[in-house]
């Protein structure tokens, strides 16, 4: 009677299941967050249908509140320590513990299926509890985590009956050389992805072979250094369907039978698109992989310290379809030239220093980068450790590649000027931000003044993450960034002359950001206290470099390290003694 006269149809007339079905198509976290704000009914439907949650800072909310908010949670991503913890700037025991999350989810009978962690402290106890509490658990991805041993892995292997993915990337794992691999029961045939490249200890090779043999869906396999050449060859015979391979030890006598067998086995692996490993490598054996090179889209040789530039370039010649390349700087500028002329589809390049302890000696310079920019116009993501950089080179790069989303430049001498003109690199980076309108992440190095921050504030409108070290002259620099970069989410600063004025100018800004890190800057304890008092929605943490039990009351002192982040739950309860929560 009524609805016949309506001109439009009210979405709320549809039953909940229909709306839920519609919401299924909305996968991005941002969009789902927006959906939940429309009205109460949408909030409710979205809340119960939300399965995937991403928490960029595990302290922004408590496990209990998260579970109450999203009781249908199936997939959780958590990040713990601040990014600079990767570079030893955050003491051990700072925080980021997984256990409370597992405990809370187990207690509430959450049907957890996937857990992705970055920079978290993961204990064996938490892995054991995880393996026992979630019968449908399928996927565990740990990146840059620590605190566990192979015993924890054994529990996962033994108890997670439907495990599909166990992906360990660059974790510090205490290796008890136990038989964790043997703990996968014979009935486990569901593995799709197995990556244990970061483990340092011996592996039961026979168990590994049997496991691979009974995993017909295995697509990704990354081995550790303890897996020898012969085993690799046998594994490839059992798993020719692999899409992603990480070799273990790749050292053998090229005139031997085993080597010939490997060559034959590799030829059969037509699906491999991604190749990594080579933690130990004999250059003379690389020709065995040439046949699969032409289909590779991702090649990671950044651990292959045994390969010299000529071997690398010989290999690259075969990789015409490469989209992502991670390599060591021993490839040299000329080698990068070969990459530029061969890999026309290249989107992401990471060049790591082969000798990260000797700051004087990177083998690539601005020349290599210019060649790459000229040859690879699709390049959108860069991490480049180099000996030096010039403004002219950066301006050229900016002209050639306007699609950068991530641009991270690390000159090994962090305050090195343009060696040709002796100028700071302000103009060069200015050109990058002006030209790359979609830039989301930027890391600076080299001699830099406030001017570069003026450019960043002016042009980097989409910038979300900025890393600054040894740069700038005054508070103006930091203020340019805070005022200009409207989309800024993460700002991390070390060893810059930014102080209280910059910190306190616009305190509300930090509520629009995930976090701010400042270490060895000019910020005083007093200013931090002011900020903490005025902004209850922020946690302001002071990390002391040294053990101290006494709270020193002098507000004029400069703080060594400050980390602040927005949060819904106030002070965390698990902070160690050396972290002061203001």
């Amino acid at each position: 009677m009524f609805w016949g006269s309506r001109k439009t149809i009210d979405m709320n007339y549809f039953p909940d299941e229909v709306l839920e079905h519609v919401f299924d198509f909305i996968t991005s976290h941002k969009d789902r967050n927006s959906v939940s704000l429309v009205c109460k009914s949408w909030y409710k439907i979205e809340k119960y249908s939300r399965q995937r949650v991403f928490l960029g800072n595990c302290y922004s909310i408590s496990p209990e509140r998260l579970i109450a908010r999203f009781p249908g949670l199936k997939s959780l991503t958590l990040k713990g320590k601040p990014h600079f913890a990767d570079f030893n700037l955050v003491p051990d025991d700072w925080g980021g513990f997984l256990y409370p999350w597992i405990k809370a989810m187990a207690k509430s009978r959450i049907g957890l299926e996937e857990l992705r962690l970055k920079r978290m402290v993961v204990s064996d106890e938490s892995l054991e509890l995880l393996s026992e509490s979630f019968p449908n658990f399928k996927s565990l991805v740990l990146v840059s985590c620590e605190g566990f041993t192979t015993d924890g892995l054994a529990a996962i292997a033994a108890n997670c009956r439907f495990l599909r993915e166990l992906d360990l990337q660059e974790n510090e794992v205490e290796d008890h050389r136990g038989h964790w691999l043997s703990c996968f029961p014979e009935s486990c045939t569901s593995l799709v992805s197995l990556n244990f490249a970061c483990l340092k200890g011996e592996i039961n090779l026979a168990s590994l072979e049997r496991l691979v043999a009974r995993s017909p869906n295995l697509k990704s396999l990354r081995l550790n250094r303890a897996v020898p050449f012969d085993t690799l060859q046998r594994l490839l015979i059992r798993a020719p369907q692999l899409v992603d391979l990480g070799t273990g030890s790749y050292v053998h006598d090229p005139s031997s039978e085993a080597y010939n067998k490997l060559k034959a086995a590799i030829q059969n692996c037509n699906s491999i698109r991604s190749l990594s490993g080579f933690l130990e490598v004999a250059p003379c054996c690389m020709s065995a992989i040439y046949p699969i090179c032409e289909n590779l889209t991702f090649l990671n040789l950044s651990y292959a310290a045994g390969l010299q530039s000529n071997e690398l370039t010989k290999l690259i010649h075969h990789c015409r379809k490469l989209q992502r390349l991670w390599i060591l700087d021993c490839i040299g500028d000329k080698g990068l030239g070969v990459v530029a002329s061969t890999c026309k589809e290249l989107q992401e390049l990471r060049v790591f220093p082969s000798d990260p302890f000797d700051a004087g000696n990177a083998a690539v310079t601005e020349e290599g980068l210019v060649l790459i920019s000229a040859g690879c116009p699709k390049l959108n993501s860069l991490l480049y450790f180099c000996q030096q950089m010039t403004n002219a080179a950066l301006i050229t790069v900016a002209k050639n590649c306007t699609n950068f989303i991530r641009f991270r430049l690390c000159i090994l001498d962090p305050i090195k000027p343009d060696p040709v003109t002796n100028q700071p690199l302000d103009e060069g980076f200015g050109a990058i931000v002006r030209s790359c309108k979609g830039l989301k992440r930027l890391s600076l190095s080299g001699l830099l003044t406030d001017q570069v921050f003026y450019y960043i504030g002016m042009y980097a409108k989409k910038l979300e993450m900025l890393s600054i070290a040894f740069a700038g002259n005054s508070d103006k620099g930091m203020l340019y960034v805070l005022n200009g970069c409207k989309k800024l989410r993460k700002l991390e600063i070390r060893d810059c002359p930014f102080g209280d004025t910059a910190l306190l100018e616009d305190m509300g800004k930090y509520e629009t950001m995930r976090s701010l890190w400042m270490s060895t800057c000019e910020v005083t304890l007093g200013a931090c206290k002011v900020l903490a008092k005025k902004m209850p929605s922020l946690n302001v943490e002071i990390i002391n470099g040294s053990e101290q039990t006494e709270f020193n009351l002098d507000d004029r002192q400069k703080v060594d390290k400050m980390y602040l982040y927005r949060t819904l739950v106030g002070h965390r309860k698990d902070a160690p003694e050396f972290v002061w929560l203001l």
Partner: protein, 233 residues
Amino acid sequence: MEVGLKMGFEETELRLGLPGGGDGGEVVRKRGFSETVDLKLKLSSKQGSSGIDPNEEKMTGLTKEKNLLLSATDPAKPPAKAQVVGWPPVRSFRKNILATATQKSSSDESGGEKAAFVKVSMDGAPYLRKVDLRMYTSYHQLSDALAKMFSSFTIGNCGSQGVKDFMNESKLMDLLNSSDYVPTYEDKDGDWMLVGDVPWEMFVESCKRLRIMKGTEAIGLAPKAVEKCKKRG
């Protein structure tokens, strides 16, 4: 000016940290690099904030800073840079892997803890030779070198092809039954072994001397190898 003030203040500045010298010392060390950075900032801020013009003062300033860096530590090594915590920004995991790799390769280059010279004798040759096993990275390279060394003495099938054939297990039986030559070695325990059974590194560690003997004489050494061949069929 504030920066200038800071420079003098540094020594007496109150810091977060335990009172006492040791800790203060540590903090100073940590700030070692940034102190020099501060110096640089002081110099460049003198130019004013309107932009940097290359001029005499600045050039001198940079040289001054370089000198400071160099005088601070041994000029032969890269200075305080290497001691800056967290720079270059490389994950410790990666640093550790590359450190092990560099150690390994530099020890290879320098010949390891010591060069591994061993005597090489060949049946029928009038004199012995010596080779440094650490000059090679595989059996293949060693066999090439031995072949070259003894090429003037060989009759028939020894030389590189013969030794290569030896590496090929399926030809092993033919070789052992012929009068061709077979490389053997004496290991740490004093036993005579067939070359090629163990990984290269293990061989280098345990080999005390090499003997290239006639195939027929080597049968006695090869029960293990013979069994292996039988297994493979």
